[in-house]
Symmetry: C2
Subunit: 657 residues, 2 copies
């Protein structure tokens, strides 16, 4: 190396402090503190090729401490990725720059996952490491053989999700996962001793991890620790003892460097300290050339890999899977035909299992699991044997009681590529993993959440387990497709849509209780339209009954009652509000014409139904639920044909009582 490691690292430091200064916003402390570690990683260890950023067998690098985003922008630029450019970095945190406040996978090819919400990058990396081992088991060493590297801070380690991620990684023995902990002993509030007294290495060892320590400013010591990490069969935590903001002489080692620009005076002093006289955003040629050479380290490995792949019998299948092209649609169609031949009057969680039976048999890229509710979520199928430490070829993960860790791991598998993960828990516990569901939506991962027991219909477990606000509030997350299918046919249709969707997550809200199969026609995937007239009025139409999921059959029952009174009612199933909204205005007007009284029925909050119901009636549950058998609950909350039908008739007759 013609340039010293310290000078190479100072390029990261300079870019970080200058970009934050220009933006007058950002976090210089972490990139400056971890610059030496990152330099060792990118110069000698990370397997990557800036010319082929999506090379499937590259190492994955995750900056879990996403606020230190300038570290990754700097290394991407320095090693020669097409983007970001130096101008992008100059425009750090400005509108239109791909160098956003936190790293966003949809902005830059070299960014593997969107980070910032603490702890999740780490937990997402666990999913990547699972994907790597699984695909290795399926496709072999010549095709899949890489590491997942993570930089994590104290925040990532203190968040609860860290416990779930560490436990899962240790249990599965993910030895290709190496976490570089920025052990700088500083958080936003001050010294870590303000809030924690934990012996972190001991905790990791307790979960089956290997732990190394190093001086995070000594390249040789860092490399020694990395070598030990690679050699050990367990996942490794490398405690990198660093000084936050290193190089800023008056502020380093304090929380003052964490999340604010250093200021002109301190930057001038840092330039002295770092022997870095160059102007902001100018990288001296010797330094840049050396960094660029690191970006060429991977070319040979990548071309050799391409040759191996070309010669591999599974090349087409591997490529299909990494490209996210799905097979399996015929299997779903055949299954749908079976449903018409032999209707299934079962809970939608059960018909989800039936659909999954066909799907998992036909789609080897599906990988399932549950947060310890396998038998309740109905997520396991004959085609999916367990994925274990001793057999990574399995396609079913016993995630344990780790909803948040599961969801983040699913994101990681999807981001790695080659897999379409699905995972289950009770819908009410979407609250436990909501932050990861949001990140699925933001980073456009193809994952499927199987959320069962989707209303008071779960019965006796009571209000702690009964979703009320969940379906509606999940509908509010941008880019999340929420499905609440009403029967076995809709379930299969929703599964088909979820699997086909390339640009984001889907969530299925499924019933615990049995439901009749209402659909008898499967020529068209009607759930793709989001909402449709399931049954037309017989008598003159005076009512539109809008319902979802388990309440669609109730709406049918009410329609029957109304017809007995000579009142015609269309029954409209609305399994996906997102899909319905993407239909043409003409189609929506056809389904929901003006004129008839609109009535909504959904066993959840009525707040939000104002979108469709103006002067009509909204039936639902606007308080917490209760513990009782399902029939008693539906009666208690007034969700029966007996309770609702007369109210509709009254309303039509203009009674105010």
């Amino acid at each position: 190396m013609s340039v010293t490691p310290g000078r190479l690292a100072n390029a990261i430091r300079a870019l970080a402090m200058d970009a934050v200064e220009a933006a007058n916003s950002g976090h210089p402390g972490m990139p400056m503190g971890m610059a030496d570690v990152a330099t060792v990683l990118f110069s000698k260890y990370l397997k990557f090729d800036p010319q082929a950023p999506k090379w499937p067998d590259r190492d994955r690098f995750v900056l879990s401490a996403g606020h230190g985003s300038m570290l990754v922008y700097a290394t991407l630029y320095l090693t020669g990725y097409e983007a970001p450019t130096i101008d992008d970095i100059r425009n750090f945190r400005k509108l239109g720059s791909p160098c956003a406040g936190h790293p966003e996978n949809f902005e830059l090819a070299g960014i593997e996952t969107t980070t910032g919400p603490l702890g999740q990058g780490f937990a997402t990396a666990v999913g990547m490491a699972i994907a790597e081992r699984h695909l290795n088991a399926v496709f072999g060493d010549p095709i899949v053989d890489h590491h997942t590297w993570v930089i994590a801070g104290d925040g990532c380690l203190m968040e609860g999700i860290n416990h779930e991620a560490v436990g899962l990684a240790g249990h599965l023995g993910l030895g290709r996962l190496i976490v570089l902990w920025d052990d700088n002993r500083i958080t936003i509030d001050g010294a870590t001793s303000l809030s924690t007294s934990e012996d972190i290495p001991a905790r990791y060892r307790a979960s089956g991890w290997h732990v190394e320590s190093c001086d995070g400013h000594d390249s040789i010591d860092i490399a020694r620790a990395f070598d030990a990490a690679i050699a050990d069969p367990r996942p490794t935590l490398v405690a990198c003892r660093t000084i936050i903001g290193k190089g800023a002489p008056n502020k380093q080692g304090t929380s003052a460097t964490h999340g604010a620009a250093l200021g002109a005076a301190e930057i001038a002093a840092a330039r002295e300290t770092l022997a870095w006289p160059d102007a902001p955003f100018v990288i001296p040629n010797d330094v840049l050339q050396e960094w660029r050479s690191f970006g060429k380290r991977g070319v040979d490995a990548r071309t050799a890999w391409e040759a191996r792949l070309a010669a591999d019998t599974n090349a087409a299948e591997f490529t299909r899977r990494m490209n996210g092209e799905i097979a399996g649609a015929p299997a779903i169609e055949a299954y749908l035909a079976e449903l018409i031949a032999k209707p299934a009057n079962v809970a939608t969680r059960k018909s989800s299992e039936m659909a999954l039976g066909a799907i998992t048999a036909a789609m080897p890229e599906t990988i399932g699991g549950s947060a310890d509710l396998t038998g309740s979520n109905n997520t396991k199928t004959p085609a999916t044997k367990p994925l274990t430490k001793d057999d990574y070829s399995g396609r079913y993960i016993y995630y344990g009681i780790r909803e948040f860790g599961m969801a983040a791991a699913m994101n990681g598998m999807a981001l790695h590529g080659g897999l379409i993960p699905y995972g289950g828990t009770f819908l009410v516990f979407s609250d436990y993993c909501r932050a990861a569901i949001r990140l699925s939506a933001l980073q456009e991962t193809r994952v499927v959440y199987v959320m069962t027991h989707d209303s008071i219909g779960l019965g006796e477990d009571g209000p702690t387990h009964q979703p009320i606000e969940h379906v509606m509030s999940l509908r509010m997350i941008p880019n999340l497709h929420v499905y609440r299918p009403c029967d076995a046919v809709e379930v299969a249709e929703c599964w088909a849509l979820a699997l086909a969707r390339k640009d984001g997550p889907s969530l299925l809200a499924l019933s615990r209780q049995n439901l009749p199969q209402l659909r008898v026609n499967v020529e068209e995937n009607l759930c793709a339209k989001g909402g449709y007239v399931l049954r037309r009025a017989n008598a003159a139409r005076r009512v539109l009954l809008l319902a979802t999921g388990s309440e669609v059959s109730l709406a049918i029952e009410i329609a029957d009652r109304l017809e007995e009174h000579g009142i015609g009612a269309d029954v409209i199933s609305l399994p996906s509000w997102e899909n319905f909204h993407s239909q043409s205005q003409a189609y929506r007007d056809e389904v929901l014409p003006d004129g008839p009284l609109r009535v909504s029925i959904e066993a959840g909050t009525t707040f939000g139904w104002e979108r469709y119901i103006r002067d009509g009636l909204r039936f639902g549950v606007d308080s917490f639920g209760a513990s009782a058998p399902i029939e008693d609950l539906y009666k208690h909350f007034g969700l029966t044909a007996d309770a609702i039908t007369p109210q509709i008739i009254n309303k039509l007759e203009g009674n105010t009582n």
Copy 2:
């Protein structure tokens, strides 16, 4: 003891298996497995008095593994609480019975916290233990001197929140906290070895805990472990090695006993095994008498405590605080008067800090904190010094990067009584603690969430940090009062309402950015009405501008523009939708009359605003945000007077473009 411990424990086993059988729903495995441990606890250790279930100095008992609810119903009945009765237990999990599927604090006096969502009972208990030590520091040993006992299962220990709770308890050295871990090595999916390989005692020791182990079916060994736990100054985990469903001869030790009725045959076999020939719900007299005697153990201690309290100089203050009667309203009024004299054009997070300055000085029961965002959430005041292991009298908790653990601990402090906790994080991270916010609402705790950076107005940190759906989706949680105040006056009013509220949580959504003080009149707490006309139209009223928080000042600007065009517009501030809905229809109609064009402006999802806006216009942000300076973002998302005013005028003129 005239009855053997085993026979006493069998009373719990019999009630548990018979109640679950009668309900044909529930979880017999845990109560049967932990019956011996519970018997030792209630017979010899727990300080309680069924005649005075709210005795402030009682030990707190938390069944974190809430699915084992029959354990607590059984012990409450057996020890002689007024409720539940044997008929209540007979009606376990039926509508109207206080013996709900999971323990609910609002149903039975002996239940300290609502549990079921795993991990939270434990984390709530940490808050109770903090409250105990703090009140001990304030009021002294004679008045406050008790333990917090927890029964937790593998699920509670595997959830991420456990890491946060364990870390916080270890850091604060909460030696009065004793957790009895039901170490039965079974979860719903099967053996714990399916999903975890953790050395749990080692993990706890790494966080500063003391760990004991015992045979969970040997009374003498259990008592030995309890004695060691009490003697040790650290929080203690007692690993109680148990057999799940013990007593059911063919199913014990398997997940088959976890969550389903045992069935008639197995129950008959269990009656043989347990030598318990009595009919369901019949407790033999010798057993019941012995259990009832345990319920009288605490009478002397309680009466002695009452005498000590009566003699204590702080008796009135202690009683006031434990009764939840608040002082401090005059301080807020005085502060409001100051605001009128000297308006504060500051961010609402800043004016929240100003209000808190007055509040914390006047209300010693307030106890604050932040999940490592103290300087950003503005939650620290001069009156609140840190609460530390060495000084429990402090009133500010550095919670660390533990949002979920913070929220649960706040619930625990509120449930303990004597404290009103508030805690801060960024609003977007409400997702990290949403499950605890929901439990605040369900169990009606008086806690205040200080959620700052409440929109794209946070600027450069970008979409991972910008709430979009959060305010609206939080409004959907039953019994949660969400406030989004528009200026310093509204902030103070919302704080006054939140503190005065006895039956549930409040959440303040506060701006990062500066906002002008709009209110000049403080005669009446207008936020109590939830919505009100902040400024009346000057010209003939053709528009109603509805806004919250930071967008109210934007609405004022737009109203000014409209007036320039001769169009009158009322500006309506809607800081609390919940409060507005509890107003009379007449009042609401007065604020929101029919006729004028309604326009909503809120820098978040427009989904949900259909509640107020039918044919009008809804301005907001329906996608994820972006990373940029605030001005650029408001412009980018069309939330400026320049962008909105012409659209309103167009709409009034009937243009469709």
